[in-house]
Structure formats: C-alpha cells, structure tokens
Symmetry: C2
C-alpha cells in the first residue's frame, strides 16, 4: 500500500542519493482557462506527488538535508474559502499524512531563498509558466538563468528513484490499465458509422471519470489514425474506415494506463486492413516477447521496425533486406515515431525532467535522425521499469508525396504501390508492461487485440 | 450567422471606439498538465475569439489604428507538425477567415514593441502565467508594471462591445443552453443512490462533448450543495439527500450555457426539502420576472433576497421585517453569494477584464460586505445583456456556528431553529436570460424546474 511510510521512505532514499543541500519541490497551481478562476481540472506535479502524495494546489516542499528538516509550505483555508470550497484539512494535517512535521505559510518560502542558501538550493526543471514566475520571484533569476541553474544531480537522483516502480506502484498502474481496458471496450461497443468522433470520445471520458480520476492524456480517437497525435474532432465516423483509439485513465492517485486499439467502423476489417493490422500485431507481439532486463529498448524498437518491414515486403510496399532497410531508416516512411516510453505517475514518465536522463543512459546519445529522434526510451531495461509497446503503420499522404518526389531510399520502397494506401490512415496497437527479474509482465487484464476477437465484438454490436 | 463579416464589423466598431494607438491581443497558448506536451484541452482567449473567431494556440492580433493595418501573427506548421498533428491551414488562410490580410511570424511581434511604439500600445489584463512571460519578453516590464500599464480605455471599449450580444450570439447561447438542458436531464435520468458523484458527472461531460464542444466550467455535482463551488468527488450519492447540479456545455464556437437544478436522490422531495425548494423557486421566478432594461441588477438581487427571507420566515428560521433583514444582510447566513453574472463567450463573461468594468458602472462601487462583495453583476440592465439568475439557500455548518456563537443579527434569525438544517445541504435553481427591449427572454427550451415535474421524472427513473 502506498501510504505515509512510503513517502517517508522515498524521501529518505532521495536524501541518501542527493547527499547534501536544500531540495525545493514546487507543487502545481490551478490554471485558469479563460479567466483566473475558471480552472482546468487540477493536476499535481508528479514528482511532488511521488514524495508527498498531496494532491492539492499551492504547496511546496523543502528538504534541507544539511539541517535534516522537511517543511511543507502552504496556506490554511479562510472562512471565505470554506464557504466557497468546503472544509479542507489544515496544512499541518496534510503534512502529517505525508509524514512531514514542519509547516509554514507559502509566503515564508521566500526566506529559504536568501543569498546565503541560494547557492546550495536545488530545483527541478520548470515546465509550467506559473513555475517560471514563482522561481523568478524566489530567486531573482531571469527565465534563461532559471533554466541554466536547474540541478542535474537532483534530476538524476529523482529519475533513479522514479524509474524503478515498486510492486505497489505496478499494482496501481495495473488498475489504471483495467479502467483503460473498459474505455477501449466502451469504444468498440459504442462506435457506429454516422456518429462524430467527439460523441464516442465523450463516452470514454465518462468511463475514466467514473473510475475515480480522469483522462491521463487527451484522447486520440480518429479515423485519420495516420496523424500521430490528432485528437478527436467533430468529424463523422464513416463506414469502411478504421477507428484508432489511443486513450488512458488516470486513477484518483494519478497512476495511469495508456492503451491503443484500432478497429473497423464496420463489422469486419477489409482484407487489406486485416493484412496491415496483422503486420502491426506481429511487430507488437514480437517486441513484447523480447522485453527483459538488460536488453536496450532501442534494440526492441529496431526489432519491431524489422518485423514491420518484413510484413510490408510481403505486402509489396517494401523490398530489399529488412535489417538493411531499418539501418537506413526506410521504415520511417510508415513508422515515423518510437516504439514506446516509460510509464509512471506521468503518461510519458518524467518527460519534464528530460528525455536524455529518463530514456537514455550517459553513454547513449539521442539520434537527431527522423524516426529515431522520436524514440523516447532507448536505454537498457531494468526490473521495475514500466513502459509501453506501441508500434504502428501510418500512411501520411504529405510525407509519402515528399519521399516519392525525392525518390528517397527507392531501393527499399516500391513507390508505384503507394497510391493504394493514400486513404488507408493508420494502425497502432499498444500495451503496457512491467519489466520483471527475467522477462516482462503485461499490466492489467489482457484486452482483445486479434482480428477475430475484435470482429466478434463488432459483429455483436452491429447485428 | 457569425462569419468573416461579423469579425470585420466587430473590429471596425472597436477601432471607432478606441480611436487611436496600437491594440495588441494575445491569443492563448497550450498549457502542459504534468509536462510541457501533455496538454489540457485548448481554450482560446474569449476576446481574441470575439474579434477573430480563430480557435488555435500561438496567435496574436495587432490592430494599428494609426496606420490602419491589422496583422495576424503566428507560425506555419512544419513537416514535423503535419506528421504529429495533421495538415492545418496556413496563417494566411486562417487570417482570411477572419478578414485579416496581413500576417507575420510570431517572432516578428517583438518588432511591434519597439521604444517608439511602446507608449501607444494598448493591451488587456493578462490572466495566465504564460501571458505574463510573453508580455515580459515583449515589453521588458516587470509583472507589476505589466499590471499597472494595462489599458483601461481598451478594457472599456471591449466591455462595451462584448456586453451587448447580437441576435446571432443570443441564438448561439440558446443552443448551448439546450445542450446544457440535455446534461441536466441526463443527471435526473441517470442518478441513483449508491453511485459516486464522479460517475454521474462523467455522463454529463459526455453529453457536453457530444454537443461538439466540452464543459464550459468544471461541473458542480454534489449532495453537499451548501458548498458553493465544490466539484464532484468520489463520494457516494446517498438516499435521502438532494443532488445539486450546476453545469454547462460550451459549443464548438465556445458560446456556453450555465444551468443549475437541485433534485432528490429519491423519487420525491421530503416535506422539508420541498418547502425550502419552493422558497428558492419563488425567489428565482420573482427575480426572472423583474428583468427588464433600466432595472439595476443589484435591485433584482435584493428582491430575490427579500423573497428568500419571506420564505425563511414562514419556515420559522427568520423573523422581523424582510426588507430590514435584507438591508442588514441577515439573509447572507443562508444566501452568501450574488444572484448571477453576465454570460457570453466566458461563463462569467469578461471576468478577466475586471468586474468593476463589467458588472458595475462608474457611479457604483462594489460593496466589501459579506454577501454583496460576491455580487458579480449590479449595473443597470440593457437590451442585449445575457445573464444568469441563480438564487439559492445554503446551510453551511461552519458559518452557522460562527454566527450563532456571535449571536449575530439575532433580531432576524431564530438560532434555536438552525439545528434541523445542519445536514440539509443547499438548493440552487439557475436559468439564463437575455434582456430584450421591454423585458427578458428565457434562453433555450424551458427545462423542468417545479417540484411536481422533477418528481415525475425521478419516479419514472426509480420505478
């Protein structure tokens, strides 16, 4: 169970890793949409959550290793706050749930940032504009200085801790995957030709909210699946198309799931859709089967790419040696992104701390080449890592036109066969895995992913 | 119809009102939740929308009245953008839909803010942290200077235009109210004892999303209706309680609805619930009936308060002369907030421009007294104003304890009768009206609001 003890242990581990100095963790604030008080739903900073479990706006945590004190900064509610927002625990009570004994009003945080202590203060990279403004006020630095003075040792210490998920965390992610499974099944059971994408996406969000949290990221639900991060629109879902659904629920404690399924708007896949689907499925299963401690995720990525090329060769779209095609990045005409990413309290776990620390090791540099530059995770896998496996095939007209015009890598691509795929759209299949001592474990209950199983559901729904 | 011509006319009217200078309107940007690229759903700035209709992130509009030019600043998509987010119109094409002929890359906006032009640049109050940072970079001002140098004449010009809704705008708000009606009916038809508040709230959001937009504000859905701005939680909805639902849909064009209904979790209201409900209903209907051009909304507010006191006297909770009780603010023990607010592209319309300009006139100062200090709209009503009418009765234990301890205004309050209401919670009824030439028009189709009508639905659902 994740409880007060967990937070005490996590902070103790952090102090041991960091060794000395003053560590400052700013919680997130409310964000106004179209005016200050019309808030987006609140999302706490994940590192702040990891070390405190406190899911409220307007808090900061200071760990002073040298004086061995931990202080929670925040303001108690006023009578006005109680009238408008109801009774809430005091800062003292909140701190106690995280095992923190010292508290202070938020304004006192300014005292921590005095000329004497400033050189030994460590903070993480800000990613929200309100954090820049807060740090400007606390440090007197410009935004450029704020970025430059981010603490790399603190980043590394936090990444080292958060990268390896405890059994409890893996259990929570599994629960979130199960809510996400329910979202995916809702899509398969609800979607019909003639509905708007939004109409279906709303149903999925209702499932996520009923699960006790909300979406872990904006739902991708589209018949234009070739666009990697398109969100749902008011477009009508048309018969004959494929619907790509990439969605996730976040539990009340913010642990998320992240799954993709692609299914026909009709009862069945067309013959071509089935062929392409099975190529992606084979790549996805091959990649999942390869997961184990010690393997570099970049090699799993390249394996998946090779399997995709194998299939595309059978389909007549590609040619030549598969390994050579992948080495030349020829597959990136159809698979432009990475195979997956770390998953934790963030859906792209710790992306705000920097991909080079999270997804790469010191001896690996991230490629700048199209395709590999979008690979978020490349490093050697370790037990406790949780990640997504999500290969896909995407037929992007603009990109196909550019490559064809340049006759790019034509030793691997049959450009005369591309036309048939101009309106094909895209297919992605995604699951979440935890790396175990000798392999990997699928998180959540298995969710239908084969052609027969999907068609069985669609037939039921549309009969 | 709201189209290119509308935006041209609105900007022409603005130029005529402002007279001279350079007017800068910053559009909103994406906001990351837990890292930069995990975005909240995008919400454009409403004034930017009002003058351009352009609902995309990363745009700015500059109207240079002296040189009679209008320029849209923004960046065209790259190939990478197209791969990840699909094809989008060029800035030139976007500008054309708003009737703007000049465009420039976003970086060029810096050139507008040169030492010569800076003194004649007008901008509106920023309300998002990213706008402060943007204005810091453009002007070189500190945040305090940015606030101090906001253009009051520009605020007044924009408020004058946006306050009076066109027939087309009133039609759009009516459509949004109808989607909101569907959300309210969904709540009445779906809610059952044993469900969580979140479970029901998710269903309402699905209705809003299917309507083509999303929520216009975070849904209030609670059996603790005494807390004015509490949102839904994972609390179980229990038999015997009242469910207060304050929600709104925002259409694809961002025009919103904002309605409240309060209904029993059971088939019927209890006798006491019915009595209190009818007091609120009478106040709500009396206030709505009083709406007409020329009446001050503060007087409608006080009328509603008086009607509430009349009812509370019959119930034995209050005593003395109703008008005198209201003049002494005795009603604020049970009605702590204002009667309503302007409604337009923002749910609290133009709240970011300042309540003193939007809800009050030059000769009226906003009260600092508990109750009246929360009245967002007080000024004389004019044809074309759109507003909410939403009285309520809220039994807040903390507040009742404080007043009772002080024996506050005991000439008007029967403190010995309060105990019965400790767990009553709260009731609010809210509708949206447009002021016409000689009265007011209910927006949207009429939605059930009497006890018999509500009980009829609840009986059907629970039988």
């Amino acid at each position: 169970m994740i409880n007060t003890n967990t937070y005490l242990q996590r902070r103790a581990a952090l102090k041991a890793k960091a060794g000395k100095g003053i560590l400052v963790f700013l919680g997130n604030d409310q964000v106004g949409m179209n005016y200050r008080d019309n808030w987006y739903h609140f999302r706490q900073d994940s590192t702040f959550l990891y070390f405190t479990g406190l899911d409220l706006a307007g808090l900061a945590l200071v760990i002073d290793i040298d004086s061995d004190t931990e202080t929670l900064y925040g303001n108690d509610a006023t009578v006005d706050d109680i009238v408008w927002q109801g009774p809430v625990p005091t800062i003292k009570e909140l701190a106690a749930t995280a095992g923190i004994t010292k508290t202070a009003p938020l304004a006192d945080l300014k005292n921590v940032f005095n000329p004497v202590s400033l050189p030994v203060i460590s903070y993480l990279p800000p990613y929200r504009a309100d954090h820049y403004i807060w740090l400007q006020q606390l440090t007197g630095y410009s935004d450029a200085e704020i970025d430059a003075k981010v603490s790399v040792p603190l980043i590394k210490a936090v990444v080292a801790l958060r990268s390896v998920k405890s059994a409890d965390e893996i259990t929570e992610i599994g629960k979130a995957v199960n809510v996400t499974n329910a979202m995916q099944l809702k899509a398969m059971h609800y979607a019909k030709a003639g509905m708007t994408e939004a109409e279906i996406a709303g149903q999925l969000q209702a499932v996520a909210i009923a699960g006790g949290g909300d979406l872990s990221f904006p739902t991708i639900l589209t018949t234009k699946g070739e666009t990697l991060h398109i969100h749902y629109t008011s477009n009508i879902v048309e018969a004959g198309k494929l619907l790509l659904v990439d969605c996730g629920a976040e539990l009340h404690n913010r642990y998320p799931g992240d799954l993709t399924r692609t299914f026909p708007v009709d009862k069945t896949f067309t013959s071509l859709q089935k062929d392409v689907y099975n190529i992606v499925l084979n790549a996805q299963q091959s990649a999942a089967d390869a997961l184990k401690p010690g393997i570099r995720y970049i090699d799993v990525h390249l394996l998946a790419a090779e399997k995709l090329v194998d299939g595309l060769k059978e389909l007549g779209l590609m040619k030549g040696d598969s390994k050579e095609a992948v080495a030349n990045h020829a597959h990136t005409l159809f698979f432009q992104c990475g195979l997956g990413h770390m998953l934790g309290l963030d859906i792209h776990d710790m992306e705000n701390l920097g991909e080079k620390y999270v997804g790469y090791s010191e001896e690996m540099e991230k490629s700048k080449i199209f395709g590999l530059k979008s690979l978020r995770l490349a490093r050697k896998l370790e037990p406790g890592f949780v990640l997504t496996v999500e290969p896909g095939l995407y037929f992007i007209p603009t990109l196909m036109d550019i490559w064809k015009k340049e006759n790019k890598l034509s030793q691997f691509i049959n450009y005369d066969k591309l036309d048939r795929f101009r309106n094909f759209s895209g297919i992605r299949i995604e699951e979440n895995y935890a790396i175990t001592d000798n392999g990997a474990q699928l998180l959540g209950e298995p969710l239908v992913k084969d052609v027969a199983g999907i068609e069985e559901i669609r037939r039921q729904v549309l009969s």
